[in-house]
């Protein structure tokens, strides 16, 4: 095996602030995005049920 690039320094591995108002870390951004997706699915399921 050659070098091991999975050892990303903290400064490069998401330590950089997202710079999005209301979010201090990337984890928060990811959680928000996945939360929106869950909301999409819930609304689509309700939509399917409503018009069935």
């Amino acid at each position: 095996m050659k070098d091991d690039p999975t050892q990303v320094p903290a400064s490069e591995d998401g330590a950089e602030e997202p710079g999005v108002p209301g979010f201090r870390s990337w984890r928060g951004v990811y959680a928000f995005v996945l939360g929106l997706f869950v909301l999409d699915v819930v609304l689509l399921a309700a939509f399917t049920r409503w018009f069935r």
Binding site: E12, G14, A45
Partner: protein, 570 residues
């Protein structure tokens, strides 16, 4: 199309291409040429990622698919948001830290040369084959309905994209894709608004009652092509492969000003991709309702193909089918109106009975449409039987005002150019960095020569795509076949990347042979399913199976290699 339509079409297409060429004409730095300007912000990256993924087929065929089968296709995108989060958290920081041009360059650093070449080869193979289709698929539809010459349509599209992609590389691709997406959004929203204004008040309940609004299906059935589960799991792996390991996408987000810009560009897609696709399939469901209320709805939407055979020796059969369709269609409309009245009456029993009668009438119309396809096939075994691709374009040409028609045709060309540009840019880059520089290592430091070669490779792939589209007469099932080819080759490639990122003890030889074995397994499952349709699984499931096989085989092979090494040492 009249003069106004032509003005809008040519003005937008040539204007954007000329602007992109002129703004990036002095691109002679390798980094800028292959990765784009390092000042690229997240908005441009986000639109570029979206434009590369969505080809003309997305805007032309998806509404037709929803017309035919409802909006369940939306589930195909359910794995995408999670996949993009994983790409942002794992793939992107590593690519950026290493400063690679291609995803396969990373495989060379993590494993060895043969694994890098395997990755690049798999990418060039599938993208090279698909590059012809990206031009051919929209050209055949537009030339059929507009009466243009197919060869000239292919040449115009292909040469236009070659000019600005070769001139400005990634910088030109990013710049033009932004404007092309503006044209696409503007055109699609306009078409949607016009459609909504022409729909009856009960359009949504009608579409729902006729089975077109079933967006989510939680049935755990492996044989159903689109369910929540296949979309989440299969879609996750498919999206991970596409966004994490396919150079057409990797190149788009590597060019950002920083990791942050790349991540935000991808998050933009994670948030808006599902709603955007929903908008497109809802357009199709709306078209379905619209055409139920049109007395002259054709039995077969590809009227050019239909009329070509209707005038032949089987004319009598074709006329009989048209007459039968007119009767069934009118009957269906009467049943729809009866159902709306029953629903408004509030009588549940009456509503259920009217709904059943409406569905029976719908089945009768579908049976006539199936008979129409059978008649076409009998008249000409090579006839194009899939008419759903022609539903939206029929609406555009028949129902939209002049000027807007030109805008919508511009949407189709803009989407073809934007996805084609992303493809050519990536094919040229992988050919230069992973193949040419491998065999000419001493030339790696000659920047001007690298840029020159990248331009040549981009142009050659463009000419290959044009030649492929011109010379090969694609059958409809060949287009589907090549799409499935991509689904067959992605899993092993993603498996290699998963091993690279998460299994630090596995080396190059183990992962290389594991990928070859996993590829064999996936191909075996696919052909077994084709030979035994009762056991065929939806193609999305090949993705988790292939990735799982590659990871498992890597671990086993690495254990065997390690044990052999220890015995040799002892």
């Amino acid at each position: 199309m009249n003069a106004l339509d032509w003005l809008v079409l040519l003005g937008t297409m040539l204007g954007i291409a000329a602007y992109g060429t002129w703004r990036t004409r002095h691109t002679d730095n390798l980094n800028t040429y292959l990765k784009g300007s390092r000042t690229t912000k997240w908005g441009t990256i986000g639109l570029s990622v979206m434009a590369t993924q969505a080809s003309t087929i997305t805007y032309l065929s998806l509404p037709g698919q929803a017309y035919e089968s409802g909006i369940a296709f939306i589930q195909n995108y359910f794995g995408l948001p999670l996949a993009l989060v994983i790409v942002c958290a794992v793939f992107l920081p590593i690519y950026r830290r290493l400063g690679v041009y291609t995803a396969y360059e990373y495989l060379g650093r993590r494993f060895d040369t043969k694994t890098r070449l395997l990755g690049a080869f798999l990418f060039l193979l599938q993208r090279g084959l698909q590059s012809g289709i990206t031009i051919y698929a929209p050209s055949i539809i537009l030339s059929t309905v507009l009466g243009w010459r197919l060869d000239l349509t292919i040449l115009f599209t292909g040469l236009l994209v070659i000019v600005y992609t070769v001139t400005g590389g990634s910088a030109a691709v990013n710049l033009t894709q932004k404007w092309q997406m503006a044209v696409i959004f503007g055109g699609m929203v306009t078409a949607f608004v016009v459609l909504i204004m022409r729909l009856p008040a009960d359009a949504a309940p009608i579409a729902g009652a006729m089975g077109k609004l079933e967006a989510v299906d939680f049935t755990p059935d492996l044989e159903r092509r689109y369910t929540f589960w296949s979309g989440m799991l299969g879609g996750l792996f498919l999206s991970l492969s596409y966004f994490g390991t396919d150079q057409t996408q990797v190149q788009r987000y590597l060019g950002g000003a920083s990791v942050r810009e790349g991540r935000l560009g991808l998050m933009f897609n994670a948030v808006f991709k599902v709603p955007m696709q929903l908008f497109i399939v809802l357009l199709g469901a709306g078209l379905f309702v619209f055409y139920q209320f049109q007395p002259d709805t054709p039995v077969f939407f590809n009227q050019t193909e239909w009329q070509r055979h209707a005038a032949g020796p089987h004319a009598e059969r074709f006329r009989a089918i048209e007459a039968e369709h007119a009767v069934r269609h009118a009957e269906q409309l009467a049943r729809i109106r009866a159902w709306v009245a029953a629903r408004d009456s509030g009588d549940a029993q009456l509503e259920a009975q009217a709904r059943a009668e409406m569905r029976t009438a719908q089945a009768a119309v579908n049976a006539v449409r199936a008979e129409a396809r059978a008649a076409l096939k009998d008249a000409d075994p090579r006839a194009k039987l899939k008419d759903s691709d022609y539903v939206f374009i029929t609406f555009i040409l028949g129902q939209l005002p002049h000027g807007v028609i030109g805008l919508l045709i511009a949407v189709m060309f803009a989407s073809a150019l934007s996805s084609k540009a992303g493809e050519l840019n990536a094919l040229g880059t992988a050919s230069t960095i992973d193949i040419w520089r491998h065999f000419r290592p001493l030339a790696a430091h000659d920047e001007a020569r690298n840029v020159r070669n990248a331009k040549w490779f981009t142009a050659l792939w463009g000419l290959f795509a044009i030649g492929f589209a011109l010379l090969v007469s694609f059958a409809e099932n060949l287009i589907e076949f090549l799409n499935i080819i991509a689904s067959i080759f992605y899993p092993a490639l993603l498996g290699v990347f998963v091993v690279a990122f998460f299994l630090k003890k596995v080396g190059g030889s183990a992962v290389f042979w594991a990928a070859v074995a996993a590829q064999t397994v996936v191909i075996g499952i696919y052909f077994y399913g084709k030979a035994n349709p009762a056991h065929e699984i939806g193609y999305l499931w090949l993705n988790p199976i292939g990735v799982g096989a590659c990871v498992l085989f890597s671990l086993v092979l690495q254990a065997l290699i390690g044990a052999r090494g220890r015995r040799a040492t002892a």
